[in-house]
Symmetry: D2
Subunit: 137 residues, 4 copies
C-alpha cells in the first residue's frame, strides 16, 4: 500500500483534533519516505558504478539526505505536543539537504546516470513538499 495511504489512515484515526492541513502533511510524509528510499538506493547505485571515485560527493549527499529525510518524516508524523519551532527547523534542514542532493544528482544525470536522474526528481519533490508544509506551519 502507498505510504500516503497508510499515513492518511493513521491521521484519520488520530484521537484528537489537529490544525495542520491533512493533505500537505500526507504529501510531506510520503515525500520524506520516497526521498529517503531513493537516496539510500542512489548511494548504493553509485557505489556499484565503475566510476565510483567521481561520485563520492554524490554518495555523501545521498547519505545525509536519507538520514535527514528519515528524521523529518518521523517528526512531521507526530501530532501530540506539536512544536512549530522544532518542526520548522527540521523542515528547513530537509529542504537544504534535498536541494543540495538534487543539484548534485542533476549534474550526474546530465552525464547519463539514470539512478541520479530518478533520485533528483524525488529530492525536488521532497524539497517542495517540505516548503509547502513549512509555509503552512
Amino acid at each position: 500500500m502507498p505510504v500516503a495511504e497508510v499515513a492518511r489512515r493513521m491521521l484519520d484515526t488520530y484521537p484528537r483534533e489537529f490544525s495542520l492541513d491533512r493533505d500537505l502533511l500526507v504529501r510531506c510524509i510520503e515525500a520524506c519516505s520516497d526521498c529517503a528510499e531513493s537516496c539510500t538506493q542512489c548511494a548504493d547505485d553509485c557505489l556499484a558504478e565503475e566510476g565510483v571515485q567521481e561520485l563520492t560527493t554524490c554518495i555523501r549527499l545521498n547519505l545525509d539526505c536519507a538520514d535527514i529525510c528519515t528524521a523529518t518524516g518521523r517528526v512531521v508524523s507526530r501530532r501530540t505536543g506539536y512544536d512549530a519551532e522544532v518542526t520548522s527547523a527540521v523542515l528547513r534542514a530537509c529542504i537544504a539537504a534535498c536541494g543540495k542532493c538534487a543539484d548534485e544528482c542533476e549534474g550526474h544525470a546530465a552525464h547519463g546516470m539514470e539512478h541520479c536522474r530518478v533520485c533528483a526528481e524525488e529530492c525536488r519533490r521532497c524539497e517542495q513538499a517540505c516548503q509547502e508544509l513549512l509555509a503552512a506551519s
Copy 2:
C-alpha cells in the same frame, strides 16, 4: 509516488546484475516503509489517547518496530556487497518485531482502537513480506 514505484525505478537503474527476485525485494522495501510509518504514528496516536497508561507496552513495541523496520528497509535496499547472513538476521529481527507489535495492536483493536487496527494490518503485511524475502535469500 508510492515507495514501491521509487524502489522499482531505482532497482531498474542499478548498474550491476543481482540475483534476488525484484518483486519480493520491492514488496519488502515498501512494507518496511509502510510499517515504520504506521508504527511511528500509532505510538503518537496512543500518546494522545486518554487511556495512555494502558498503552505503554503498545507504544514501546511501536517504537522498536519502527526502528527495526527502518534499519531493515535500508539493509534490503542495498545491493552492493550483498551479504546473505546479515540480510537474513535483520529480516528475522523485523519478523519478530512486526509479529509482536501486531499481536499487541490486535488486542487493542479488538477494544475499539482504530489506529491499532490499521497498524496491526501493516505489521502483518511487513511480517509476511520479510518472511517471503527471507525464504528467497
Copy 3:
C-alpha cells in the same frame, strides 16, 4: 570506550585534510550521541511513570530530539564532500530540538523527575556543542 575517543581516532585516520576544528567536531559528535541516548531513555522513563498522561509532550519532544540528534551526529561525522549549508541547517534543527526538549524536561525536573533532570543537562550540552560547531562552520 567513550564515543569521543572513537570519533577522535577515526578522525585521526581520515585520509584527507579537513578544515573544521577537530575538538569542536568531536565534542559535537559525542554530544549528539549522548543526547540521543538520554532522550531515548527519558521517553521510556516517562512511559514507565504513573503520571505518564502529564508527560506526553515530554515524550514527544524526547522522540523528536533523539531522531534529530542521531541524524545530526551522522551528518557531522562525515567529512567527504562537506557541504556547509546542509551542515548548518541540520545543526540549527538540532539546536531547536535540544532547546525545546531541555525547556520541557527542566519543568518536570523542578517537580522531582530525576530522569528529566539528567536528560535536560544532556540536551543543554548538545545545544551548546551544536552552537559552537555552527559558529565555526
Copy 4:
C-alpha cells in the same frame, strides 16, 4: 560525558524495577553507540580513499552495521514493555552485522587501512557486548 555514564544515570532514575543486569546493559548500549559511530566514519573514510573502488563492500557493510547498531542501541535502551524475543532477535542481527563488518575491516587493516583497524576493534567489542547481553536475556 561518556555514553556509558549517560546510560547508567538514566537507568538509575528508571521509575520501575527491571531484571536485566545493569552493567551488561550499559556495556551493550555504549558498544552500539561506539560501533555506529566508527562504522559511519569508516564508510566516510573509505569514500575518501584513492582506492575507494576496492572498498565498496566495506562501505556497504559499514552502512548496514551503523543502521543495525543504532536500532539495536535504541531497543536495548528501553525497559518499559520489555520483550525478550524482540530483544534477542535484534541482538542476533547486530552480532551478525558486527561480525561481518569486523571480518571485512580486518582484511583491509592488514593492508594498512588504519580506520579499518580502529573500526574492526569497535565491531568486535560490540559483537561481544551483544553476545553477553543475549546470553543474559
